[in-house]
Symmetry: C3
Subunit: 420 residues, 3 copies
């Protein structure tokens, strides 16, 4: 993680050099920037601690298998890094358990060669330190059966909840908060079917520019030529404007429910067309035009600790969810899941089939690929922290600065390296 230093007058001046009449005393301008009310967010490079994050989809981890007599490596484990912490998962009698993926003794990763003599344990392949996957307690040492550390050492173990076909993990300390606070409203509703086949990949960009891209009303511009937009003639604005704290958006902060920000498309001013010099730049498809998809005016909202809801999308009946899960300082896991209100089991099965056979391929590759491009393009500028102070935001970015402030107020702790 890079450190910020107060710049010399010359350096500070340099960042202001291009600003024309707005020129100020550079040191004063710098310090004003530093007083911005989202400093906590800027510091949350590795994410916010004490929140729930999705680790993987349920179907990716089957019931635990066990090693043969020679300690053969098992296959049914899953390793995921969340907020810089590498976690090993096993499914025991149907329940998923997660512990830190390194042995307390000499720090090697269990996952390099996971040995599990019993369903409930993982044994370190190096010296035979054997831990209970359910609570992390050291309960045998193969190379020193009478070891006094048995029952005394404990791996960090992670609270897990499996809901809607996804495995959520609480990365934090003490009693976990309810999962309900860390997913978008409606996600856990009984009548919302969530398809078991979601999509995930790592993207070479910190989680914060990623979250801001997804929630940015003006980033619609990069999607006006997305393949999916063209394939279904989805009306896509160039941008939304005339947004303020009291217009076009709604900040949701409360004790007993998810905290987030909703964009209210109805009240902002959509931009369908503008000019550059004497050239007209226009949206490809507009509502009401012949052949254009009807019913697609999605409400976009973002929720702590970094999950987007787009309702509806990609069809007028579906809801699109996407998470920006911190992996390390320079990487986030981009996780997408889709839901739909269903009234019967048949309807649910039909929806799941549709996701599996159609949307799982189309949405990430013909729409969100453009977002991945944009996030990776921002990575360098923001990686050294410098971008946070050099960026020049414009009107529609009010929703982003409100998000940064909300996150700064409601984040339950800043993740630091070395806490695992």
């Amino acid at each position: 993680m890079a450190t910020r230093k107060t710049p010399s007058r010359q350096e500070a001046g340099a960042t202001e050099r291009t600003i024309g009449d707005w020129q100020k005393d550079p040191i004063e301008a710098w310090e004003e920037q530093r007083r911005k009310p989202w400093q906590v967010y800027v510091d949350a490079v590795l994410g916010f601690r004490n929140h729930w994050y999705p680790a993987f989809f349920s179907h990716e981890l089957a019931e635990a298998d066990v090693s043969g007599p020679a300690g053969e490596p098992v296959e049914q484990t899953k390793v995921v890094t969340l907020l810089g912490e590498r976690i090993l998962f096993r499914r025991i009698d149907g329940n998923v358990y997660g512990v830190q993926d390194w042995c307390l003794h000499r720090g090697v990763a269990f996952s390099l060669k996971p040995e599990c003599y019993t369903k409930e344990t993982v044994t370190c392949w190096y010296h035979g330190f054997t831990y209970d996957m359910r609570d992390g307690v050291l309960n045998a040492v193969i190379t020193d059966p009478g070891c006094p550390l048995i029952g005394k050492l404990r791996l960090r173990s992670y609270p897990v909840e499996e809901r809607k076909g996804m495995v959520f993990v609480f990365v934090g300390d003490g009693e976990p908060t309810p999962l309900e606070l860390d997913v978008p409203p409606g996600f856990l509703d009984e009548d919302l079917a969530v398809a078991p086949d979601g999509w995930a990949r790592e993207v070479a960009c910190n989680w914060r520019p990623a979250a801001e891209n997804g929630f940015d009303p003006a980033h619609a511009y990069i999607h006006r030529n997305s393949k999916l937009v063209e394939r279904f003639k989805v009306p896509t604005v160039l941008g939304d404007t005339d947004i303020s704290k009291t217009r076009g958006m709604d900040v949701v902060q409360r004790k007993n429910g998810p905290c987030g920000i909703r964009l209210l498309r109805g009240t902002a001013t959509p931009v369908w067309e503008t000019t550059v010099g004497d050239v007209t730049v226009a949206a490809r498809y507009r509502p009401g035009e012949e052949g254009v998809l009807e019913g697609m005016v999605p409400e976009v909202s973002i929720w702590m600790p970094g999950v987007l809801k787009v309702d509806p999308f990609p069809t007028p009946r579906m809801v699109h969810f996407e998470w920006y899960v911190p992996v390390d300082e320079n990487t986030h896991r981009y996780v997408i899941a889709w839901g739909q209100r269903v009234e019967s089991e048949d309807e649910r099965l039909e929806f799941e089939r549709e996701i599996r056979e159609t949307w799982l391929e189309i949405v990430p590759n013909e729409f969100n690929n453009d977002d991945v491009f944009a996030r990776e393009a921002m990575a360098e500028f923001y990686a050294g922290e410098d971008g946070w102070y050099r960026e020049r935001l414009f009107g529609p970015d009010i929703v982003i600065t409100q998000w940064r402030q909300l996150a700064s107020r409601t984040g339950r702790g800043i993740q630091k390296r070395g806490l695992q």
Copy 2:
């Protein structure tokens, strides 16, 4: 950029350990080194600011093209990094313009997907910020047409001069100095034809060891077996010696012309032969021997901000120019161009043909490849700044220390990271 620290007595001693009878108190020796009069040059890791550098050859950038209605990326742009600053170029009505290659809004590179709705503008593919390439001013924002930043924000734009088929850029602040001060004497002369086909590549070495290699009289030793030397039987000394401030060189420092250093081969003592033990080491070809190329006693000179002139080379009529353009701390762009005095258009065309068909291939690959090898070999030693204090220079290196001092006196500013 590595930082230098005053070493402990033990560490300082270590650097002196091999020096035999010259042994001094190590801390005292270290501090004496630090008082060397070329400290400014040592600090100019990223190059000297407020100078002109060649960016590319004219034929590499055609007249600007424009995007179609969907904002398709254009092809006629050029991106070059000079002194750590990434610059985007377009040619508008014949003139080349350059601006910083990153959007002020969120820092992404225009060049990842350059959109140009008009000939004079570049539009950021992300949010549609649109700038005039000619002065950098923000003149439209596609996603927020009424944006109050329009007309107020400005990209850094770079003074450009196109001369002799090359595009030169002033990397600095305020009014540029005349280009004439930053090219070798004669380069801009009317009767000097410069071939449009030059050669350039990036080399994994800082620009300073590169410049010193080119200008080093003793580096002739690496060329005695160069293919070009063998192919044309070019007489190549082993080295030149007996050089001092008043013999064999001429320091040129003035207000109204290029500053640099000339090697005066006539007054130094050339080494054609010497012995190692009882083995004789000799130049491959000497002037006057049968079959050896006549007329090749080139004058070598180096000029601020890092450009070499070898006159004549590679033939008795041509002049060889080479630039060591800082790209980043560990890379320079090695740029070569050739000139020849011509008296007619026919002569000029014949010269250009000869360069294109013969020398463009031969000179870099059969001669300067040996220089590339030497520069990359020095990179590690000098990269941590340490080499600047551990090197043990010898007699002929007086020309190098004079160059370092001249550069320290006449460089117009030290380039720093983050000034863009």
Copy 3:
């Protein structure tokens, strides 16, 4: 090399968080850790200076060849990096000499293009600085024959001893200590034949975790399924336990012989079988069982500056030696040699043949490959120095902490970067 900082209370607490009832005040616990009596060893990231290390096997370097009249590169040189110092070797009239592999003038490596006009010299390919390989003295400068530095500059030269078919180098200052102090007892004995064909490779792990792995009684666990163990039915314990300073081990510290630690297998308690839950984990082969190899209860010992002796291994008559030679902070050279007591020349030849045709292939690839795996698995945890303070050692590790203390007491100096 990473630096350690005293952690904040919160960070220090984090490393203790998993320790259950052992919880202490975290800052106090941290400082106690820092008072551990092997701090010198922790600091010896690049190895211990003023010791002998094996550089290569004798058969790898033939008698010196010389360049032709054009200074063609020679072939008979060897370059090896020891403790961060790159050393160039030549064999002159049968004797091996080593000097620093970079020219004092401008720091380039001779080995990039070694020129040797005479058997005894190396000439820098760049400016013709010519040094005597035997003492490092500059004795000619081809590009400046009268250079006053001749006879005054000297390369660092390295004491070399060639014994038992291996080339040992003293990396240190002043008069070297006797080689006898830095090899395992018996290695230099006249009646011990050492096979000329040894094995070596670089492993991506610091030398200290490597040394500890080789000497760790409990690491036997990783070998219970090694191919070699299975092929020859070698009895391999799960681990040895009930070891203390006065039981199962012997610390050897003296002025006139090698310093090291012996494991005394007879007095420790071997673990042949234990349970995990209701599953029995057992050694694959036990002594006395049908078909199991007899006579394989090797004594394992480790000696300064990092060499292991396993007697006998891999057969009941052979002795296995292995070195963990520091290359840089993150790499060691893993060097293996085998010896056997012989009573005649025929016996010696037969032994050498057996090594060449059988064991040279089998031992590294069917046994020590498991050690390489374990070392590389520890690298990340220990690389940032952090592992040294976060590790949780257990009973059998007393031999490792005794080794660390012995090394801290008997190491002749901590190697630092930049001493070359």
